[in-house]
Amino acid sequence: MERIYKILEEIIPNTDFKGATNLVDAKILTSLNIVRLVSMLNEEFDIEITPIHLIPENFNSVESIYNLVVELDGE
């Protein structure tokens, strides 16, 4: 979880991610940011996030991103 915060902080500085539940819907995470985030997550956790996972529900909060990473890591 901490690692995810760090990555997010690097992509979009000065944003409060902790309580946020609508990162995508509020357009804080744009598609460009998501692509950066995904490639960083792939690198960091050695997982493969594919387009099917790129839906707003998976990226709206840090928690959901965390869940996604955990889920993919298990495979």
């Binding site: 598609s31 998501i34 692509v35 950066r36 995904v38 490639s39 792939n42 690198e43 387009p51």
Partner: protein, 517 residues
């Protein structure tokens, strides 16, 4: 949409409402399909076979892919084998998707782009001393070709990705692809959002009926009060583009921007209104595009469903593709990321441009936005730094206004390119902004009363936008009125359009800019 087609659309809608209402719930989706097909046959004549071919291939691809997935019980296998089997399944499904794309994008390419390619190649050949007559196809495009092809493709890709199971009822696939209101100019719908609403067959109730009718009227208001008048100004400027300069060019560009927005969003409102009557919510296509602070945001607020389609089915797959990952592996992270995003954006904007029309101009239009996006990506970190140094917050009102104006000007240039006949006309027009041209007499094009009507109606649109920014939901307010009040609101709108609308012999017929795509 020509008057004729618009009238027919509204008449077909009225007929649908009547049949839909008396039909049993579970068969109602068939009513919607039947009417859509009837309308298609009526308008597109024999070219309706192309849409039927798309329906059939879409349906079959979905079913075949599901069969492939179900052919093996993956969970029964152990981990090592599982991976191999999975890869094999994926491969098989890829073949299905690829052949689907070949067929359907093939139809699109041949019908829409063949002449463009034929002309370009013969031009090139002739430049090298050849003497060829270009081979031109003379087929009318089936209604909504560019829209339904992409929408169906989205469905097939989703099934391929396993987002949802394939539809086993060909009639429902047909309805998803041919649904009348969104056929002509979108918005692009997603199967998993639309189908549950479509198959439910909800009763028509008073609230939805008024809501739908109000939306339709609002759309007509935009088209007849704003777009058709603004178009007379922009047509005049762009027709004699060599004559004018300076402010006139800008006026023409702004008029075209207003026209395109009012017209396109008006048609979308009509489509959403018709669907709303049957309690089907179509996706949003516009969200106050002219308050965008950068071009990227503009495209998230303008033609939203197109942007979303290209994001989900082009941008994400390309940017996360193995090929790109491998080829950028050796670069440092930041550079590889930049390369990935640049290449993906290039693909997206090239295709977006081409989607708008088969000509070099539209490709340039796409690439224009590609360049703006890349520039923004490069510059914005520095701008942020400078702002942070000077303690200027991003919420600073002056900063926001500057950004909104900047975005509007950039969009305006894009719009002039979009409307200009070709790239050299566009170039000349941009240059002549800085020159003095002939005197442009607006009163020769529009009578004083028309100009007044245009200004007042644009004012009403702006008022609506301001209300929305302030958080006042006008739609909600309308829904909470009593039926009698709703009735009179609709009646008033109707009367205003009938009396003051710009239609008929004295005005140009509405010619939808986004309809031919």
């Amino acid at each position: 949409m020509p008057y004729f087609m618009m009238t027919m659309l509204l008449i077909f809608t009225a007929v649908t409402i009547a049949i839909y209402a008396v039909c049993p719930r579970r068969q109602r989706y068939i009513v919607l399909l039947a009417i859509s097909l009837a309308f298609l046959c009526y308008i597109s004549k024999f070219t309706v076979v192309f849409i039927l071919a798309t329906v059939l291939t879409t349906f079959l691809s979905g079913i075949i892919m599901d069969k492939i997935t179900q052919s093996v019980d993956i969970k029964a296998l152990d981990k090592e084998v599982r991976k191999k089997v999975k890869a094999k399944i994926k491969q098989k499904k890829q073949i299905v998707v690829l052949s689907y794309i070949v067929i359907n994008v093939g139809i699109l390419l041949i019908l829409k782009y063949f002449n463009f390619f034929a002309l370009t190649t013969t031009n090139i050949l002739n430049k090298f001393g050849g003497n060829y007559e270009p081979f031109i196809l003379k087929i009318a495009l089936p209604l909504g070709l560019s829209y339904y092809t992409l929408q169906a493709l989205g469905y097939v890709i989703d099934v391929f990705r396993g987002k949802y199971k394939a539809e086993k009822n060909i009639l429902k696939v047909g309805l998803f692809i041919c649904f009348l209101p969104q056929l002509h100019e979108g918005p692009f719908g997603r199967y998993d959002l639309l189908m549950p609403q479509m198959e439910k067959g909800d009763n028509i109730n008073v609230n939805n009926l008024y809501n739908g009718i109000a939306k339709i009227l609002w759309g007509l208001f935009k088209i007849f009060m704003v777009a058709n008048r603004a178009s007379m100004i922009s047509d005049a400027v762009f027709k004699d583009n060599g004559k004018y300069g300076g402010v006139t060019i800008l006026l023409g560009g702004v008029a075209f921007t207003v026209q395109l927005y009012a017209e396109f969003s008006g048609y979308i409102d009509i489509a959403r209104g018709i669907s709303k009557i049957f309690n089907i919510e179509l996706s949003k296509n516009f969200d106050l595009p002219f308050i965008s602070k950068n071009v990227g945001e503009f495209w998230r607020r303008w033609h939203i469903s197109l942007g979303a389609w290209f994001r989900d089915y082009v941008f994400y797959p390309v940017s996360t593709s193995k090929f790109l990952r491998k080829s950028t592996q050796k670069l440092s992270f930041n550079i590889s990321n930049f390369v990935t995003i640049t290449i993906s954006l290039l693909v997206v904007w090239f295709l977006t441009g081409l989607w708008h029309g088969a000509s070099i101009k539209y490709v340039c239009y796409g690439l224009y936005y590609f360049i703006l996006m890349i520039l923004f990506n490069i510059i914005s970190p520095y701008v942020e730094k400078i702002l942070a140094k000077n303690n200027i917050s991003n919420d600073n009102k002056i900063l926001i206004s500057i950004r909104v104006v900047k975005t509007f000007l950039l969009v305006l240039i894009g719009m002039i390119m979009f409307r200009a006949e070709n790239m050299s006309v566009f170039g000349n027009m941009i240059l002549s902004i800085f020159k003095n041209g002939e005197y442009f007499n607006l009163l020769k094009i529009l009578e004083m009363q028309d100009i007044l009507a245009l200004i007042v109606s644009i004012g009403i649109l702006i008022l609506g936008a301001v209300a929305k920014i302030k958080g006042i939901d006008i739609e909600d307010k309308f829904n909470n009125l009593s039926s009698i009040k709703k009735y009179f609101v609709c009646f008033a709108l109707f009367t205003v359009i009938v009396v003051f609308g710009a239609y008929g012999l004295d005005y140009l017929p509405p010619d939808p800019i986004y309809g031919g795509f």
